[in-house]
Amino acid sequence: MPAIDYSQKIPNNVDLKSDKKLQRALEEWQPNFVEWWCSTGPTDFNANEVYLRTAVGVDRDGWAQFGYVKMPDYRWGIFLEPQQEGRKIGFGDHYGEAAWQEVPGEYRNWLRRLIVTQADTEPASVEQQRLLGHTAPSLYDMRNLFQVNVEEGRHLWAMVYVLQRYFGRDGREEAEELLQRRSGNPDHPRILGTFNEPCEDWLSFLCFTMFTDRDGKYQLLSLAESGFDPLARTCRFMLTEEAHHMFVGQTGVGRVIERTCQLMKAGKDVVKEGAVPLEIIQKYISFWLASSTDLFGSEISSNSANFFRSGLKGRAFEDKYDEHLALNQAYAIDLPEGGKLVRKEVEMRNAMNEVLRDAYLEDNQKGIDYWNRICEKHGIEFRFRMPHRRFHRKIGVYADACYDIDGNPLDAAKFEARAGDWLPTAQDKAYVKSLMKGVREKGKIASWIAPPAKGIDDKGWDWEYVKL
């Protein structure tokens, strides 16, 4: 592995300086990226020093270097996990063949589509969250937001590297277009629906990092298995960073719950004290979980079968499976038929989206259990729950009908009548929004969230993470 090249504009471990063509392409792209950041990122905080983690290498010491930096000066780099000698393709029809170090021509277009779709989500979330800095409940949280933002930016870099290095002119054009689409823009929206949903308050942001970034985790896990080695290596490194984003969501929602439970235990009025009732937290969870569940795509999918059989996108932790062809196997799924659900068997390869969704939902349940332990600890009876996977879906076989929170079919009128019990109402949103007042003083925190157990990089939670 070549040494990391600090002297270049773009920190990297891919020996950028010896590939003049690629270096030029990336150096042309970089100013456009910075311009994108400065116009659609957290623009009002570009001049502030933020205590951020910067990856300067992929080893244990390299990936978490802390220091104050102004976000536009952040060193977005390109890091791939080291290449494993003799890596073999681990699944699909090419199982056991040598992993591809260059793009196989026959799968070029599919691969590009996969990468572009994944890449598009990275800048999208930065755009969705661009105004949240103003309403951060503490400097600690503000810093976490910005950390998430710069790392999503780095993930974009990682994907753009793969596009520019391996996909020629098409790759360069796609890289440009990644900077041209905009979250929620009617003319050129981001590719996936969830990434065009506004993320206007911190409860939404915390749910987003918990659930939507967890979709990202599972997409990255499945791409980390890819037979196209550079993609697998870049995704494996991205996973390290993604884990922090989910930490922000997991602990963040947990702290909102913690605060409410503390007040309840003390016999105080939650709303009077400016905290969020547990029922409203549940509704936010249900909304974002359902929306993020959509991101796995349709339950029965030709694309998922194609991607699996061609060795481009595997299952999360493919090693854990006994066999890796997934041929002549069935996946049982309840399909809507004439207003009822009928159990049908579909080909396993066509159900790969669902297989990945299963793993995702199981992972979510662990997070929910953690939140319930907070309630338990305070002696509060309320328990959080996951909505059923059929609830409030916009994509896939359940998108055309309504299902209640337990996944039972019901007609649209009945759903509408009960929607307010399950999803945030306008009133709920207005209430949450009313709590969103930025707290910028060191050592202070908003009324609706408890302080974290500890800070970042062994600092206290009340340390000056952002110099305002």
Partner: protein, 553 residues
């Protein structure tokens, strides 16, 4: 293989906007622009074995489209521009449904493609001969047959959302061709460069935005924020290209038909199957009275004008023959009645005094072409009591062979009229007389010297208008042998032969579509690389990758 078209309920071709499942035809009062919006109901396909997702279509969807074009021509003469667009979010149309194709018999696939090809040509015919212009407003991705539909329109506007593309995924994904005129229109109509068309047709996800314009794949792009304005603006431009027409149209009522296993009986048309013979007789019976004598009277009669009704009935009978009666190999065609009745109607058509008469001429032009695209043998039989005159003389020429009874005691009425001079061009752009006498153009002119004057069998035979002209002694036997021989041949060989003989002369976009494109597509549809156990069409949507025999032929 799944059920064939014949094993299930017969397919019906008559419909009405009030019964459309997949299209919405909006004609705002007082406006000369109409909207034709595609929103396919996934569970309302002709068969239950597939779902029509993402605005993918089957024959049922196309039958509605053909009906809409027909009704726009007759019922909405004031409409000058039709905006064809999609009713789903971010997708225009995904083309013909793959699972439908995968589960269809070869014969059904061929007829499905033929019908959809005709529908697209009707759209272009309406632009060329009527006052209709079509704007395809691609509000999302148009792939395969979706883009082919766009290509049939006069102009294409694509929404520029950095995502919506036009594409031909047939080759890379399915191992077949964009067979609904796609490849032909790309290079012949839009004149896209060969190499760029080649690249475009190999990229499953297609080409979007500015490059789609640069390569000539679409005419313009517009952002979503000014989509409505851009569509309206372009529609207005197109409408201005054509004259404004009368505000009141002619409603097309449903055709009355008695259908049984023995045949189909309409008011003027009778289709009768001869049991066990693979033959059918198709008889057109002219009314006793000539009816309207000028354009105004014809318009007043509207859909009750016998000429229009007969043509509509014939068209419906032809479609039933194709899709619901694949075993019928030979159609024996007769027109019976008084030749003067036919000539009177022809005189009205020839004068072409108003938009309505022009539309009826168009109907005749299209039905005659439909005859020539039948994968059936057609014999015109001119015996006692028949009247192949005027427009029906063209029908006579459209058949593969002409049997003419030569018996002075049983005179036949064969009569060429003005319309044979060019009112009904064939797919090759020539008249039927020109095509018949390609070696001796003077003979075509000679036939036209007899316009309006009935020909006896001898003169007709001398002019080269009969394949055989037996006298009454030989007639029955000659005819019987000819019919029996015909149905004994290989049906595939016959179809191939007929399609090669019917269109002598120059190539046009239309002959290329039905000859070159369809023939290659139908060949590919039979090949193991498409439909074998591991063929691309069979493997699509399954967990298996296609396996090709890589030998080029």
């Amino acid at each position: 293989m799944a059920a064939t078209a014949t094993a299930t309920a017969p397919i019906e071709f008559q419909t009405h906007p009030s019964r459309y499942k997949h299209w919405k035809l909006d004609v705002p009062a007082g406006s000369d622009c109409a909207a034709l919006t595609m929103a396919v109901q996934p569970l309302e396909g002709l068969r239950d074995s597939y779902e029509l997702k993402l605005n993918s279509y089957d024959l049922g969807v196309d039958i509605e489209l053909a009906d809409a074009i027909q009704r726009l021509r007759f019922e909405q003469p004031q409409v000058r521009c039709i905006v064809v667009t999609g009713g789903l979010d971010r997708v225009f149309c995904a083309g013909a449904n793959i699972h439908m194709l995968g589960s269809s018999t070869h014969g059904f696939k061929v007829n499905f493609c033929k019908y959809t090809n005709e529908t697209r040509l009707y759209l272009e015919d309406a632009s060329e001969h009527s006052n209709k212009r079509f704007l395809c407003a691609l509000n999302g991705t148009a792939s395969g047959g979706g883009y082919e539909l766009a290509l049939a329109c006069d102009k294409i506007l694509l929404c520029d959302d950095r995502n919506s593309a036009v594409s031909f995924p047939e080759l890379p994904l399915l191992g077949v061709l964009p067979g609904t005129g796609g490849l032909t229109r790309l290079v012949d109509k839009r004149k896209v460069r060969k190499d760029q068309a080649d690249v475009f047709s190999s990229i499953a996800e297609g080409i979007k935005g500015k490059r789609a314009v640069e390569w000539g794949l679409v005419d313009r792009i517009a952002p979503l924020s000014r989509w409505k304005e851009a569509v309206a603006e372009m529609a207005r431009e197109l409408a201005r290209e054509t004259p404004a027409n009368a505000a009141r149209g002619v409603e097309l009522p449903a055709l009355k038909v008695e259908a049984s296993e023995a045949g189909r009986h309409y008011e003027y048309v009778t289709l009768a199957f001869e049991p066990g013979s693979r033959r059918a007789s198709l008889t057109l019976k002219l009314p006793a009275e000539p009816g309207p004598r000028d354009g105004a009277a014809a318009l007043a009669a509207g859909a009750r004008w016998w000429m229009l009704q007969l043509l509509r009935e014939l068209d419906d009978a032809l479609l039933h023959l194709r899709l619901n009666h694949p075993l019928i190999g030979l159609v024996v065609l007769r027109v019976v009645g008084d030749a003067q009745v036919a000539l009177a109607a022809d005189a009205v058509l020839a004068k072409n005094e108003n938009w309505f008469v022009n539309e009826v001429r168009g109907q005749a032009r299209r039905v005659l072409k439909r005859v020539e695209n039948m994968a059936k043998s057609l014999y015109a039989v001119a015996d006692s009591g028949t009247a192949f005159a005027g427009t029906f003389f063209e029908l006579y020429l459209a058949c593969d062979r002409q049997y003419l009874l030569n018996d002075s005691d049983q005179p036949v009425a064969l009569c060429v009229a003005d319309l044979s001079r060019g009112a009904y061009p064939m797919a090759n752009g020539l008249t039927r007389l020109q095509t018949r006498f390609l070696a001796e153009p003077a003979r075509a002119a000679k036939v036209l010297e007899h316009v309006g004057a009935p020909l006896d069998a001898d003169s007709a035979n001398e002019l080269g208008l009969a394949t055989f002209a037996p006298d009454s002694i030989d007639w029955d036997d000659e005819l019987r042998l000819a019919l029996e021989e015909r149905v004994s041949f290989s049906p595939d060989g016959l179809t191939g032969m007929e399609q090669n003989l019917r269109f002598a002369g120059p190539e046009t976009l239309e002959t290329k579509i039905f000859g070159r494109l369809s023939a290659w597509q139908n060949w590919i549809f039979q090949r193991p690389n498409a439909v074998g156990e591991r063929g691309a069409l069979k493997c699509y949507g399954t967990p298996k990758a296609p396996e090709f025999d890589y030998q080029r032929t």
